[in-house]
Symmetry: C2
Subunit: 426 residues, 2 copies
Amino acid sequence: MTSPFRIAIAGLGTVGGGVVKALAARQDELSQRAGRPLLLTAVSARDRKKSRGFDIPGWSDDPLALAKGDADCVVELIGGDEGVARQLVETALANGKHVVTANKALLAKHGKALALLAEEKGVTLKFEAAAAGGIPIVKVLREDLIAHGVDAVKGILNGTCNFILTEMERSGRGFDDVLAEAQAKGYAEADPTLDVGGGDTAHKLALLASLAFGTAPALDAVSVEGITHISADDIAFASEFGFRIKLLGTARRVGDAIDQKVQPVLVRASSALASVSGAANGVLVDAGEAGQFFFSGRGAGEAPTASAVIADIVEAASGAPSPVFGRPAAGLTALRPADGKAAISPWYLRFEVLDVPGVLAAIAGNLAEAGVSIESMIQRGRAPGEPVAIVMITHETAQAQVERALKAIGASDKVRARPCMIPMEA
Amino acid sequence: MTSPFRIAIAGLGTVGGGVVKALAARQDELSQRAGRPLLLTAVSARDRKKSRGFDIPGWSDDPLALAKGDADCVVELIGGDEGVARQLVETALANGKHVVTANKALLAKHGKALALLAEEKGVTLKFEAAAAGGIPIVKVLREDLIAHGVDAVKGILNGTCNFILTEMERSGRGFDDVLAEAQAKGYAEADPTLDVGGGDTAHKLALLASLAFGTAPALDAVSVEGITHISADDIAFASEFGFRIKLLGTARRVGDAIDQKVQPVLVRASSALASVSGAANGVLVDAGEAGQFFFSGRGAGEAPTASAVIADIVEAASGAPSPVFGRPAAGLTALRPADGKAAISPWYLRFEVLDVPGVLAAIAGNLAEAGVSIESMIQRGRAPGEPVAIVMITHETAQAQVERALKAIGASDKVRARPCMIPMEA
């Protein structure tokens, strides 16, 4: 065997702890796979005194010291798109060290610049754990589904949202109720905005789009809508139509532009994505002539995320450095955003209206004026005096048209709250 | 860019043609990914005069000449576990050339010896296309799901069988009828034995087991049962119980032994594997603590298989040679076969019996004697004089026990044909 591969880990939270434990448990096997001994030589975390259940070698209070020590590879598990994490990754790369990270925000924002730096220094920058936890979708897009191009990537990339939506469907409860339970159980953060607002999915989608299309990660070009407005009614109505509501990150080629969207979508109950339940993740890749491929599994948590980090470490130790996004970073083109509002699909529409004569006629009139035609409709009675839910499924229509109609409808004083519109799989 | 990577292809059938076309269509992009120009410099196939719709460079009538020429990488797409294919791969490796192959039979039989040769010569031997077509399951097992070990791999690995079973379910027709149609349409070979008999799945399973468990491929230790005895009735009954019948290749760890089986299995209709329909493939990996991961897509055909071959070529061109089965070949251990008949599951049993008094009592008696207890039963009436189908689902029972009972039951002159037994997912 050749010289050892020295590993320094910054951040010993859930994932960092999982990496340390898995490395220790399979040191010999993983070293054989890497072709050289894997040695954890340094770590840095916030609290040295915390009891972790494993030995800590080479403690450093300053994470940046790891980028300046004798490590061959720095594993960044601090998080955040600026600050210490960015400084650590930049310094490590500049000092000719390989970097493995789970930091989606950092890569989504500074991916191209960091890739350029890594490639200039002849080292590798790997981020499998940043996209879908244990599902090796980064490598699949970077190295496997490359022969026929990719037309679209669609993913359930946030386990918290999928857990909430699954639990809402299972129990019939509302969003707030299920979120509170998820928070109590530790499945959702105290401030859940990044998850339920769609931001986390957007970070991950920007990375997958870059890998799929050879464009620099373009987080700002992702249109983002979360799941906070999804009601128990929406989920029940979707189910009646044979659909489930999932928060999808979708990146697809539209001519020479790319449409990147994070939004709730009604997916057919029989589809692969609909089968992804609870905190799992799932990704569908439309690889042109080669057809569709689907990947699912655990997208977060200690072991699945550590699994991705360790695969990256072994590859960094064993392989020749390959381009960070599959193609030389200098050649990553600027993503040209497609007109997202031109996207055509059937739509699920829900209106909460006062139960007075003429309301349905007014809504139907506004839809007709915008050229939106209705495929089916459910109107459900409530107790006297309560608002009535009207749900419609449209024929295939451009988003802009539906928005125009809903703006007119929302202006009526007979319509309560903002009408809800969710695209459906055709 | 560094020196070009010279590629020689032996075999220009469906897959070979697909590789040539995809290489030509994306030469620049694939060369960028590889970090060096990819050049197709030589080919060999049976019939030079055949019109193929693409240009043929460097024709050679003798495939073995490719192993002696100036190619950096030989792509073997001839097939067969001996003869020219084996000679070509051995000679190419011995001459220090990388080899990419789709040849499952060759690898399943001679995998360890070939891997030793490749590693001795410092070249790579890649076979992504040999397992599940476009699904990158070889790489996933070799490089990704490595941190927590693998407890089991289950796959639908033969598109022809899955097409037949799906079509039998959809149409209610019998095996022979659907097979004949599949042959007429070119989905099944004139001699379908290797597919419907389970042999092809066994080849692929032996490779996946090797990657998953660090054992040398052990084809002889795979217990193989095909789908020729599955009737339209079995599929209909399974459906009544909420199951589908799939031909699965399963390799699982049992203590320090490995159980490798190819057999029809009743999988729950709601499961990921049940959702794999038509000619698709699907693989479920139980990666210990990291959880279950599922992968599906097209497992055969021109573009999906070419996709896998091209990913291997690009990796051979760009990467440092890594161990063929993920770990140094010298360390691949001899697989210790588990006692397959000790496998415990519920069982689907079907008996065709004469409609005379006492038959059910006799069957029930034989089952009880062998310690097999029944969870549910369906008996279906037929026209007078015709045999009656009795279907039973057992509680969890070892295979050996069920076989013992069925041997006794089959000896009765009231039971027509061999009783059918199929394991079920618990």
